[in-house]
Amino acid sequence: MATVTLINVAKRFGAFEVVHGADIDIADGEFVVFVGPSGCGKSTLLRMIAGLEDISGGEIAIGGKVVNDVEPADRGIAMVFQSYALYPHMSVEQNLSFGLRMTGNPKADTDRRVKRAAEILRISELMDRRPRKLSGGQRQRVAIGRAIVREPQVFLFDEPLSNLDAELRVQMRVEISRLHKELGATMIYVTHDQTEAMTLADRIVVLRGGHVEQIGRPLDLYENPDNIFVAGFVGSPKMNFIKAHIVGRDARGVVVELAGEKKTRIRQPLTDAAPEPGRKVIVGVRPEHFGDAGEGDADLAVAIDVVEHLGGTSFLYARTANGEDVVIQRDAAKVPDTPAVTVSIRKSYLFDEKGLRLR
């Protein structure tokens, strides 16, 4: 088991910089998820840790030892690829044992490790099959099994579940969580799916455009996003952003008025230097933070376009008088039957024009 430390790590492809100085500190045995939209550099970062890509700048240390110039094979890591990358001409058993056989590991030990991995992943009855004859979920297990037999200090996963259907994805997510508990190894997991990140991670690293936007525990990111990107990325459906401006300030905070909604004023306590009255800001409200009229900080009249019933809860897709789209979460029992409805804002976040959180 080992810590993983990234200090100002950068990656350039030619003149094109795709990772801009990432600082990430991963504790021994921690499950860390790199999450961000496609193309933000998650895989590149992971592949630099694995040693499959050169590091253009900064330092990566595994278990306290700088590995910039260490061969991938000697870094004590194992990786699970999105495409599984199984050896197509080998049986499951051979896929699992290949690396150990090729490096002269004693046969008894190899057999023991393969047997154990097969038991952990419940693939013992598939050992003689070729990858072609396996379902997506089974291939994924074999790919994970191949990582397990290496008994690595650090597991790396690159979007391991994105080729599976929704139901299997949920099931494998639970299995990976269980695996982490069972093995206690450090795991770094890349995904573009915030649900996967929220459910699996001890800590999440949110990336955008090669920058680390925020690092924190799932609930910290949800409750206390540093900026509008993280606020929008974490949580589903995503947070609503409504244009507003400052109408007053005093020692304890500011009063903001939603654009085009003279009656909707929200008082926000601020400890940072508050912006001057007249400055434009953005108010963020999560769908689940709307309440009945009169029970929150301010009321807002909306017109409902579409209602989505999920069973216990429903989502109202609505529009404000100013023409802004908002999504409102409601108990199914409380869905109004008229299109015009007034809701209250129970909790909100304030962002400046650049998208940075004001608090």
Binding site: A78, A85, L86, Y87, P88, G99, R146
Partner: protein
């Protein structure tokens, strides 16, 4: 549905007609001719005449021996060489890849007569660059055209030069269809590059290698141009005569079409037999 097929076949008729006349009929006709004595006028049906002669003809066995010898040595050497070339072409370290790819492929499109003439020049006893090179590293001159063993070697060198690049390009295409991440997984599995080649590249390339081998076997069974042009009609003294050359001499020199047809069918039969054995040996384990 039926109707649409009928229309399609009507459009295909001109092609099918030509195919039948110039392709199917000669195949059937030469088979029939192989059962006729064709040195008499008119030809007469004599089933044992050509086939019987074949079994006892030293010229036939000489040609068969030469053809098989070339096959057994040249095809494996060429495919091994093609594999090395493909690995080099596939290396990320290689600069100007397109140029090499073209250079390797170029021999196939060079005219046969031109290439044979150049080979005769290069290997000529007193003026050839090959003997000059041999001399310069202290080896004796070789009389490539007057002795059987060097002449056979020359044929094999020439055929290999002409077709190795072609096979390398096919192997390269096969190599490039192996996903990169399989190698990355093996690298992380601590498997060395050499072992990756023998345990991943080669097994995954097996179907492509079999394809190349089959093409080469069929090509070598029909070998004609090189012994005809480079070693001057299978010289010295029939030392490089192949089945293709024997067929040509019997058919178009002696106008003995019956015997030539029997030789042609023997060549085709051997090519099919060897290919089947090859496919059987390389079959996928269940």
């Amino acid at each position: 549905m039926r109707n649409r097929n009928a229309t399609a076949y009507r459009f295909l008729t001109p092609y099918l007609l030509i195919f039948a006349i110039f392709w199917v009929w000669p195949i059937i006709s030469s088979f029939l001719i192989s059962f006729q004595a064709t040195r008499t006028v008119p030809w007469r049906f004599a089933p044992g005449f050509n086939w019987g002669r074949l079994i006892g003809d030293p010229a036939f066995f000489n040609a068969l021996k030469n053809t098989l010898l070339i096959l057994v040595i040249q095809v494996p050497v060429m495919i091994a060489l093609a594999m090395v070339m493909a690995v080099l072409l596939n290396s990320p370290l290689l600069k100007a890849r397109g140029l090499y790819r073209f250079a390797f492929f170029a021999p196939v499109v060079v005219g046969e007569v031109a290439y044979s003439a150049v080979f005769r020049l290069m290997f000529s006893l007193d003026f050839g660059i090959v003997n000059k090179l041999l001399n310069s590293i202290g080896l004796p001159k070789v009389d490539w055209f007057s002795n059987v063993t060097p002449a056979m070697a020359l044929i094999m060198i020439a055929v290999t030069w002409r077709w190795a690049g072609y096979n390398a390009i096919i192997l390269l295409a096969g190599m490039q269809s192996i996903p990169e991440d399989v190698y990355e997984a093996a690298t992380l599995d601590r498997v060395s590059k050499l072992k990756q080649f023998f345990h991943i590249t080669l097994p995954l390339l097996k179907p492509v290698i079999v394809f190349c081998a089959v093409l080469s076997i069929i090509g070598t069974m029909q070998l004609f141009t090189e012994p005809f042009l480079i070693t001057e009609r299978g010289g010295p003294g029939g030392g490089t005569e192949t089945l293709g050359l024997l067929l040509y001499r019997q058919g178009f020199r002696s106008l003995n079409f019956g015997y030539a047809s029997a030789v042609a069918y023997t060549m085709a039969g051997l090519a099919i037999a060897i290919t089947l054995v090859q496919l059987w040996l390389m079959r996928e384990p269940k």
